[in-house]
Amino acid sequence: MRIDIQGIHKEFGQFPALRGVELTIGDGELIALLGPSGSGKTTLLRVIAGLERPDAGQILFNGADMADTPVQERNVGFVFQHYALFRHMTVEDNIAFGLAVRRGRQRPSRAQRRARARELLELVQMGGLHHRFPAQLSGGQRQRVALARALAIDPAVLLLDEPFGALDAKVRKDLRRWLRALHDETGHTTVFVTHDQEEALELADRVVVMRDGIIEQIGTPEDLCLRPATPFVYGFLGDTNMLAVLVREGTAWLGDRALALPPAPPVPDGPARLYVRPHDFRFTDDSDGAIPGTVQAIRRRLDALRIEVSVGGHHGPVEVALPAPAPAPEPGQTVWLRPIAHGLFPGGQGVFSEYEA
């Protein structure tokens, strides 16, 4: 099912949780809502489901306005962050709940409901555990029961709020892969919320990056990694260095040095911020257009060397990542840095300081 999210505003008291969210989700797409805590991801998911009423804007399911359709009739499978399994029901009754509460001819017989529950339990790889109570399951198992319960009503869209948030790293990874396989198999339009960039990039067809109730960027994992659209995305997805530069006639100046940068969209004259990821710096012997610096410290990481280079001015040290076997400079040595990829954004410093390297 196709979902159109148009100009959604939502306030809690005076606090704006969503400020004009526009997003179109294609049929069968797997979308991640990614953003720091408090950015409005859960609120957006709840607005889509009909658990929260937007103050302005529309949600369209296959073109139909959902404003007057209550959550019961939207046919959404919602998996809650803390699962919200019914603690007094067995796993089987939990999964069959959505079928058991149907009315009239819609309601399958007891045997049919049981069969469907067992079938879904197999699908989530928990066959044989139908008689257990939620308290007798591990976190990962509860997660899968919650998913099976949501799938039981044949939802038009599957909404998952931090589906792996409460699980440990190993289980997370397994379930993540498994959810991707399940999605490919069942083809539900799926939206999931996460604050884990790795999870979003690995799992989703497209990632929606949110901050403070607005969408910063929508794109494929490829787009997001290679072409961050805003300084925030640069800072939120992985490590980055930020250098305050001055743009004059299309050239970025760091102090008194004109920088030679790879081709990029032009930026108006004035102060600007140059973002370069640690692994996008190269040491060079050619000082022309490069950034001069002094090696301050070298740190060992699992996959690379991290080299801190002070570049003068009022910047903190710049971080450079070198693939492990490369010959490393010595502390105190003077080096020249050349970015092979970068983001250049107009405007002064300090707007997104909390996410800057």
Partner: protein, 308 residues
């Protein structure tokens, strides 16, 4: 590396004698910091036991001893006395009427408080607790002032031939007043803790409001509800002060068991008084047993707790 790890010490695993190799001068006198010394403990425990014996157990035993002072026939005769039977019937009737009403009210109040935001909510919670802090006698008097012959609603009630004070309705009202907090107090923290997550899940799965209430909300609180009803019932049957004021103590008509006990006792009819009292004591013991059973079996479902 500049600082190679020191080689693992080739120490033999310490045997049982190893502990003795260290001086343990204070070993005998050591006790965990949160535990008192043996004499202190003995004094405290003895004090508590003595207190329980004097204040709780001895009176309880004496109730049964006095009731059976004239042997079993005297006991049975005292209980089958028409006035005693009438008091027992009235007490049961009052409980049967007031406890379910309070259970309903408590459930509704807890539901409203836990699941919704509305102005005046904290005032509402405070008002529910009012009967805990008001003397039951005052509560009874208020009902007389409002519903009595010279009360605010007196003329209206008389005009319609409705008797509230000195009759069953007044007794039920007074009993409900003093027992209002019992069910609500059990449910409010539990339902607040459980939040609205389960309900939202049920709704998203297509359940109607009623289905959600019957299949999710109510089962989630059923043991706490039962617990509250149990306490409410014990108090409803045992209430003296408020009922004494509104009942008018008409023997054989508006005397509940506690009132009957007092009247008999004042008439020096000790055996009869304690016979009726023994029934109340049995009720109290049964309540205690059921309550303990609930706490033991469903303790975690009674209390607010995280997740599942």
């Amino acid at each position: 590396m500049d600082h190679p790890m020191p080689p693992a010490p080739a120490s033999p695993t310490p045997g049982p004698s190893a502990a003795r190799a260290f001086p343990s001068r204070r070993r005998g006198r050591w006790h965990p910091p949160t535990t008192e010394t043996a004499p202190t403990r003995a004094v405290l425990i003895a004090g508590a036991v003595l207190f329980l014996l004097l204040v709780l157990l001895a009176p309880l035993i004496s109730v049964f001893a006095e009731a059976l002072a004239d042997g079993l026939p005297g006991y049975v005769a005292a209980l089958t006395d028409p006035e005693a039977l009438s008091a027992i019937r009235l007490t049961l009737l009052v409980a049967v009427l007031s406890v379910p009403l309070n259970a309903l009210f408590g459930l509704a109040a807890a539901w409203a408080i836990a699941k919704f935001e509305f102005p005046g909510k904290s005032l509402f919670i405070t008002v529910i607790d009012l009967p805990f802090s008001i003397s039951p006698v005052i509560a009874g008097l208020v009902y007389v002032l409002v519903y009595g012959a010279h009360g605010v609603l007196g003329p209206f009630l008389q005009a319609h031939d409705l008797q509230v004070v000195f009759a069953l309705p007044g007794i039920v009202l007074a009993t409900m007043f003093v027992t209002v907090p019992f069910v609500a107090r059990e449910l409010i923290p539990l339902m607040q803790e459980q939040g609205t997550g389960d309900e939202e899940a049920a709704l998203s799965l297509g359940a109607s409001g009623w289905q959600t209430f019957w299949r999710v909300t109510l089962p989630n609180v059923k043991w706490a509800l039962l617990y509250g009803v149990l306490l409410c019932n014990a108090r409803a049957m045992g209430e003296f002060g408020a009922v004494a004021v509104v009942s008018g103590r008409i023997r054989g008509f508006t005397n509940t068991m506690p009132l009957q006990v007092e009247i008999l006792y004042n008439e020096y009819n000790t055996v009869a008084a304690f016979a009726v009292a023994s029934l109340l004591a049995v009720l109290a013991l049964a309540t205690l047993v059921l309550k303990t059973l609930l706490e033991w079996r469903y303790g975690d479902a009674l209390m607010a707790r995280r997740g599942h």
